[in-house]
Chain length 187, copies 2
């Protein structure tokens, strides 16, 4: 595979909105066949999320909060957007402690992925932390949430009943299950 | 857990943009503590994606396309947005055949998840299909992509080298691996 098959050259870019969390632009691009098209693009600063494990990997920290775009409460792994110029690793440690009160002795990058590559540039850096110590919950202004630690069985139950229903948390649960299965196979 | 802890009542909603793929609105909400805040919300029609398996589950169909928001080519499972009023199951069958030329004898819903619950209402319906027959590739206008079938080892290699790097495809690879592992444990 070549590096950029079907490359779309930007012919012009129009800023539509500049907000607190996201910006929106509409680009006019040249398609591979020479025609032009528009692309609606949401710009996002990027985010971090943490698969934070307690009890030797038997429980995972989650937070429950109201998600206005979905008009419902959701249970997700701790996460938050990057602040300007912030290192993702530092952001992950910060968000974990702010939201759950746990401090990670070490964080390991598990995956970096885009959430909606068709219309947004948001990238999530997903970390795993399995050695935690007690710190201090400090929620952001305008942030309302509670945290709890759930077992893998509870996580699958939450997925079935819809309390867990976002991509990063689903991904974290699968990665957690795979990790436990790999550990179980060790002598 | 109650149904809507931290509910945010909408006080007003302002439409910022109405596009071909997404709309943008800014809502003013009442926070649980009585203060007000704004919420930037991208409206999306929803999407479907398919974990389509060939060769008795040993290979997965992927498509390669240029993703303008990321300014790079990505390898993803076949996917596309819902058309107005379209049933997700029918959309999944349509997108799979349009993009890869394979027709699914049956599709099973694996997960329904949100991609970016902090700023977008996009929901992806992820299906699994493991009995495929040859159909006809019919790309949408303005759609440029190629498809291939890769093994699980190749999928993990693509994840490591960044060719695969979006949430739905990562999730599909984990689900595929878990399925193969469960089958291997069967007598």
């Amino acid at each position: 595979m070549s590096e950029h098959p079907f490359y779309e050259e930007t012919l012009s870019s129009k800023s539509i909105f500049s907000g607190r969390m996201i910006d929106l632009q509409v680009d006019t691009v040249r398609l591979p066949d020479g025609r032009t098209a528009t692309r609606e693009i949401v710009r996002h600063p990027g985010a971090v999320a943490v698969l934070a494990l307690l009890d030797g990997g038997r429980r995972m920290l989650v937070v429950e909060q109201y998600r206005k775009p979905l008009e419902k409460t959701q249970v997700e792994i701790p996460a938050g957007k990057l602040e300007a110029g912030e290192d993702p690793l530092a952001a992950a440690a910060r968000e974990l402690e702010e939201e759950t009160g746990y401090r990670a002795k070490s964080l390991e990058l598990l995956h970096t992925f885009s959430t909606s590559p068709g219309f947004a540039d948001e990238i999530i850096h997903l970390y795993i932390a399995d050695q935690l110590e007690e710190g201090t919950v400090r929620l952001d202004d305008e942030e309302f949430l509670t945290s709890e630690a759930i077992s893998l069985d509870e996580a699958w139950e939450y997925i079935r009943d819809g309390r867990i229903g976002d991509a990063k948390t689903l991904l974290a649960v699968y990665a957690w299950q795979q990790r436990l299965a790999a550990e179980a196979r060790l002598p």
